[in-house]
Amino acid sequence: MKEKKAKNVFVEGAISAEFIGNSIAKHQSKTTIGAHNIFLGQVRADQIDGKAITAIEYTAHQDMANEKFFEIREATFVKFNLTCMHIYHSLGAVNAGEICLFVFVSSPRRKEVFKALEFVVEEIKAKVPVFGKELFEDESHQWKVNS
């Protein structure tokens, strides 16, 4: 087994707006930062065959996912001039309207944060083994497919 350096990116349930606000506040002592860029994934109440999605229940291969989050993090710091980066992903049920993914990058310069944030989000979608089960109001479900 390779040395485990990855920290846990997962949080139980939805990520609250207050948590995001607090995370922003913690960066105000870092006065080399000139630009922050934040991506938030929010669960949509899509209508499919006349039924609305009420929640997505997330599971993951947690050990592998945390490894992949860590590799993405390392690769991003090599590619872009960032001061800091934070990633949080939900596990378990997240209701429509709630936030399931929070990616936060900061840099002295704005050009870096735009490129870095999109890179991180696309890497997460492509490489991290997380699985979303879309729950409908009638208690049926389907497995989410990313587009």
Binding site: H61, H89, L101, V128, V130, W143, N146
Partner: protein
């Protein structure tokens, strides 16, 4: 060798388990999949990748006695 096999998402529904341990004597991922297809015929219709010890591997990869995970398409975020 003793293989721990983990099933995720849709695949755990198909196999009706999230994990099992198999005693296995053949050598490659492909061999293992053939055995699993016999055991769970519906698995063959599903799209998935195989990870050995937390890394995605090709079908001709030699099995070690570490964890094997069957991963349906990722849908995080």
């Amino acid at each position: 060798m003793n293989l721990t096999i983990k099933y995720f998402g849709l695949l755990a529904e198909v196999t009706q388990r999230s994990e099992e341990t198999l005693v296995f004597t053949k050598s490659t991922v492909q061999h293992l999949l053939e055995d699993l297809y016999s055991k769970y015929p519906k698995l063959k219709e599903k799209d998935f990748q195989v990870a050995q010890n937390l890394e995605i591997v090709a079908k001709d990869t030699i099995l070690t006695d570490e964890e094997i995970a069957l991963l349906p398409p990722f849908s995080g975020g």
